[in-house]
């Protein structure tokens, strides 16, 4: 099947097998290997990306479901050498060790902050429940997300992400089978 997807600001048109998962399309076809695969049961969240501005686990979305959509991965967050505030906060708060879960954790954190610009500790912990980390014990991740919240305007993100969804309040992610919430 032929799909057209905008990933990190670049439009791609490709023929894909209907069974191809979005994460495999990103990694194997587009070389977007910043997004990783940590499990095969949609539990770990390492593959979390944004689909039309909302987090999805890209292992539970088919590439064909992303046709006509905009995908942002960890590789598309920094602009002109400027880190996204959540990326910066992960560094500032030592919220990563091996870093394998980090792309998914950051993408989910941004989504969480879009929903709740000033989450308390409990809200952060609940909001990241679908993303597993084995290194940090989560304490510094929670700290980083709350730190980022203070550095971001409500709902702020890169321009590219302020497209669909956020303004209208529609949550397209779940309608295409995402598990990022």
């Amino acid at each position: 099947m032929r799909i057209t997807v905008t990933v990190d600001g670049t439009s791609y048109t490709d023929d894909v097998e209907p069974r191809t998962l979005l994460v495999h399309y990103l990694r194997e076809r587009l070389g977007k290997v910043g997004t990783v695969v940590g499990c095969d049961t949609s539990n770990c969240g390492a593959c979390t990306v944004h689909l039309d501005g909302h987090s999805v686990k890209s292992c539970s979305v088919l590439a064909v479901q992303a046709d006509g959509s905009e995908v942002t991965t960890i590789e598309g967050l920094a602009r002109d050498g400027q880190l996204h505030p959540v990326q910066q906060a992960f560094h500032d708060n030592h919220a990563l060790q091996c870093g394998f879960c980090t792309p998914g954790m950051i993408m989910q954190s941004i989504d969480l902050l879009a929903d709740n610009p000033d989450p308390d500790e409990h809200a952060v912990r609940e909001g990241l429940e679908g993303n597993l980390c084995r290194c940090t014990g989560y304490q510094n991740i929670v700290k980083a997300v709350r730190d980022a919240a203070h550095h971001m305007r409500p709902g702020a993100g890169p321009e590219a992400e302020r497209v669909a969804g956020a303004d209208t309040g529609s949550r397209t992610a779940s309608s295409v089978g995402g598990g990022g919430e």
């Binding site: 495999h24 990694r27 194997e28 977007k32 290997v33 910043g34 997004t35 990783v36 695969v37 940590g38 499990c39 095969d40 049961t41 539990n43 770990c44 390492a46 991965t73 960890i74 590789e75 967050l77 920094a78 880190l83 990326q87 992960f90 560094h91 500032d92 030592h94 990563l96 060790q97 091996c98 870093g99 394998f100 879960c101 980090t102 792309p103 950051i106 500790e121 952060v124 912990r125 609940e126 990241l128 429940e129 679908g130 993303n131 597993l132 980390c133 084995r134 290194c135 940090t136 014990g137 989560y138 304490q139 510094n140 991740i141 929670v142």
Partner: protein
């Protein structure tokens, strides 16, 4: 002029490693590709024990994109290749051959049976379904005591037994203490307990992967491994390859926790297939494969007997272990429980000690190192025992510990298990922890809740632990029959522009070596932190090393870096004296500069590096280089310690456990980077708490791992863990020049018993004196109602729920 420069060591530097990790510019093994790369997929046994009657690969070979399908007999027709075990713990240890792919029989569910090579990973995966294997079932051996029972079926018929080895230490025989049987028979109080260390899955987040390029000058392997150097040598030995023709690279590695200390059949498979086809090959496992095929950790039955006087003085300790090896021996698997032998006596002065460990084969995934490796098991048992003894004596559990621990003025102290603890101050760490925790107030609240019969009961758990880390003095490893030494290598290259490259044999996989080593070198050479680049994980640049595990990197590898830097300074001093026309003795080196004493004449290390590069005017006999290397073999382990306190609320109506407060004060000696240290503590605590409350690898009666995915194996999420209060005391290690100890495993070693002690303490008045881990609501509820410590029996329910444990026979059933 003396510039006072703030030392780098001790500074909370943010990590150099982060930039690429937070932007997705990573080099995980599975991210890498090569021209003409083909992909491997491994067919794994679905049964735990069976004869392989036949394997029909003909249909799979016809599948689109498939280049080849191999069985064990295809790759190793003579059946000569065996995966290495580097730790024969006793001379008569039974060591079955572990083939690359099963040959003749399969011995655990998950063992490789055939491998497909195809153009894409998807096509390789598709073809697996077309391989037809006919199995003839053999009786499945599960459960430690079952495996040792008279007439039990055998995992390896040819060995004639399921007993792998028996390893014994006795203080009476060693001369380090008295006779434990005597101590027990003379004792005023004797407490016996049986504890179970459930089986765990290391669960590093990056699944294992391996790529081999046979077209390069050397046969080059990239692998998601903790041990590139060991892997290189072991690959050469295992396959008879010339070692100089092998290069191993560990690129970015996504966690290990001991789970990536291995020489994998899949790595050997990649080497064999790549050479056979003359093409680069890659294997990347799915998480479901990791769960069954990557080694597990723990899995012991621990029988302890402690003898004491009525006043609380401990007079003897006897430890009898059964340790499940799984179906084969891993790289260091048989030695893991033996490491525990030195830690059961912990921080206590115990006059008589006996330890015996029986290693056992079962038809399960093999076990090997997992964060702590033998020390968490030991620490759990002794710290649980101290609480049980305190309850028996009616003493406060902290008072009992204090009565028996080594006092700070008694260091150095040689223990009953023959280790010499160089330094420590248990009083200081404990006092600080008790204050932060509010021990007395919580005890008061506990009494009140008891009195009013509150449905939510409060418990307080203590763990005053130490551990041996910084593996290891080579002579000690030799005395334990380990197959290698415990030194580490470092090299420093002084570049003409004054920048510095540091090469380390410690291969990081998330720890932050690049940052910490930069801090150390910045201080040693007086160069800016930013001017240091740390290279590791590639046997071509870092040609020598023994890698990262056992909390050894800083205490061994970091010291090698210091020694190499000292050599650089020594070399530079000669050149500086020549440049400034003075005697070497007149020079002092500080802040990156050699200064002629009593003058303001000085020259910087960068200028010297440039002068040496030009080499126009060097003193007679001086080589034109400042580059230096050092290999450091530690004279002793390091012994971090700490006091961990946990308060849990236990809902007696549902069995639910909530951690209300977790406070730990750790003494890891001098700290290079407090941010990294704190991060290691957090992560370690999470893993130890997860063992106490959530995780368990569960087998059903046919030997199928029922907790075989992250949906079933309860890895805690952010919502399942509390925030921790961490603090430190600082008693420098006296056995290395930085005064450092290890920190990588401390949290995991200490926390498990603190949590379990807290839960038992909360419900002890219901007659409960133990609950088997993980302390699921079901188990806690059952214990409160029936006093049973294990909600056992068949009907295994994965996910930290019902165990599959036959309490009478122990181990996974």
């Amino acid at each position: 002029m003396t510039a006072t420069i703030e030392p780098e060591v001790g500074k909370g530097r943010l990590r150099k490693e982060d930039e690429r990790l937070i932007t997705g510019r990573t080099r995980w093994t599975d991210n890498l590709t090569l021209p003409g790369l083909v992909h491997l997929a491994v067919l794994r046994s679905t049964v735990a024990h069976a004869k392989i009657v036949s394997i029909d690969t003909s249909a799979a070979k016809e599948m689109p994109g498939v280049l080849a399908v191999y069985t064990g007999d295809d790759l190793d027709p003579e059946g000569k290749i065996g995966m290495p075990c580097a730790w024969p713990v006793t001379p008569d240890m039974k060591s079955p051959r572990r083939p690359v792919l099963a040959q003749g029989t399969v011995n655990f569910a998950g063992e490789g049976v055939a491998v497909v090579v195809a153009r894409s990973a998807g096509e390789a995966q598709d073809a697996l379904a077309e391989i037809d294997v006919e199995y003839e079932d053999l009786p499945v051996v599960l459960g430690l005591e079952n495996a040792l029972a008279e007439g039990a079926p055998l995992v390896h018929e040819e060995l004639g037994t399921n007993r792998n080895a028996l390893w014994v230490f006795d203080s009476g025989e060693a001369g380090s203490g008295g006779n434990v049987e005597q101590a027990i028979s003379d004792a005023e109080v004797v407490v016996k307990r049986r504890f179970r260390q459930q089986r765990l899955v290391p669960a590093f987040m990056e699944p294992r992967a391996c790529m081999v390029d046979p077209t390069a000058a050397q046969l080059t392997m990239w692998s998601a491994t903790q041990i590139p150097h060991i892997l290189k040598t072991m690959s050469a030995l295992t396959l008879g390859l010339p070692e100089h023709k092998v290069r191993v690279i560990a690129p970015d590695v996504g966690g290990g926790f001991g789970g990536k200390i291995a020489v994998l059949p899949e790595e050997i498979m990649c080497l064999l297939v790549a050479q056979k086809l003359g093409k680069p090959v890659k294997w990347t496992e799915s998480r479901s494969e990791t769960m069954v095929a990557a080694h597990h950790g723990r899995d012991q039955i621990q029988d302890l007997t402690i003898a004491a006087n009525r006043d609380g003085t401990v007079t003897g300790l006897k430890v009898e272990l059964l340790a499940d090896m799984g179906a084969y021996l891993g790289l260091v698997g048989p030695g893991v429980p033996i490491l525990g032998a030195f830690m059961f006596n912990a921080i206590y002065k115990i006059p008589a000690y006996h330890f015996a460990c029986t290693n056992v084969f079962t038809n399960t995934t093999l076990t090997d190192a997992y964060r702590g490796a033998g020390r968490p098991e030991a620490t759990f048992a002794i710290e649980r025992m101290m609480d049980e003894l305190a309850a028996e004596l009616g003493m406060d559990p902290m008072e009992l510990r204090e009565k028996n621990w080594i006092k700070h003025e008694e260091f150095p102290y040689t223990t009953v298990s023959t280790l010499t603890y160089d330094s420590g101050n248990y009083e200081a760490a404990t006092q600080k922890a008790m204050e932060l925790f509010g021990y007395e107030a919580l005890r008061q609240e506990q009494r009140e809740r008891r009195e009013r019969n509150d449905p939510v009961q409060l418990g307080i758990g203590i763990s005053t632990f130490t551990e041996m880390c910084g593996l290891a003095p080579s002579r000690v490893l030799g005395s334990l029959d380990y197959g290698a030494g415990g030194w580490e290598h470092a090299a420093i290259r002084m570049l003409p522009t004054g920048k510095v490259e540091v090469i380390t044999g410690a291969s990081a996989h998330g720890q932050g070596h690049e940052t910490a080593w930069s801090q150390i070198v910045a201080d040693q050479l007086g160069v800016p932190f930013e001017d240091v680049e740390v290279l590791h994980g590639d046997t071509q640049s870092s040609h020598k090393g023994l890698d990262t595990y056992g909390s050894r990197s800083l205490a061994v590898g970091g010291i090698a870096v210091v020694k190499a830097a000292e050599k650089v300074i020594d070399k530079a001093r000669k050149v500086a004296a020549h440049m400034m026309e003075c005697s070497e003795d007149d020079l002092e080196f500080s802040g990156g500069k050699f200064t002629v004493k009593g003058t303001d004449r000085s020259t910087g290390i960068g200028d010297i590096a440039l002068a040496v590069f030009a080499a126009h005017d060097l003193p007679e006999g001086v080589e034109p280089t400042l580059d230096s290397e050092a290999v450091y073999d530690p004279e002793n382990f390091s012994f971090p310690h700490g006091t961990h306190l946990c308060a849990t609320e236990v809902d007696t109506e549902t069995g639910r456990v909530r951690i209300r407060s977790y406070v730990c004060v750790d003494d890891v000696g001098k700290v290079v980077n407090p941010i990294i240290v704190e991060g290691q503590m957090h992560g370690g605590l999470a893993q130890g708490i997860a063992q106490a409350l959530y995780e368990e690898a569960v087998y059903d009666e046919s030997g199928t791992l029922t907790s075989g995915t992250f949906a079933d194996y309860l890895l805690p999420s952010a919502a399942d863990l509390p925030s921790f209060t961490t603090d430190r005391t600082e008693t420098p290690s006296t056995t290395n020049p930085l005064g450092v100890k290890g920190v990588g495993e401390a949290g995991t070693i200490a926390s498990t018993p603190a949590v379990v002690n807290a839960v038992v303490d909360a419900v002890r008045h219901f007659g409960v004196n133990d609950i088997e881990m993980p302390l699921s609501p079901m188990r806690v509820w059952q214990a409160i109602r029936t006093g049973e410590k294990a909600a056992g029996g068949p009907g295994a329910e994965a996910g930290g729920g019902l165990g599959s444990i036959d309490a009478a026979h122990g181990g996974a059933q």
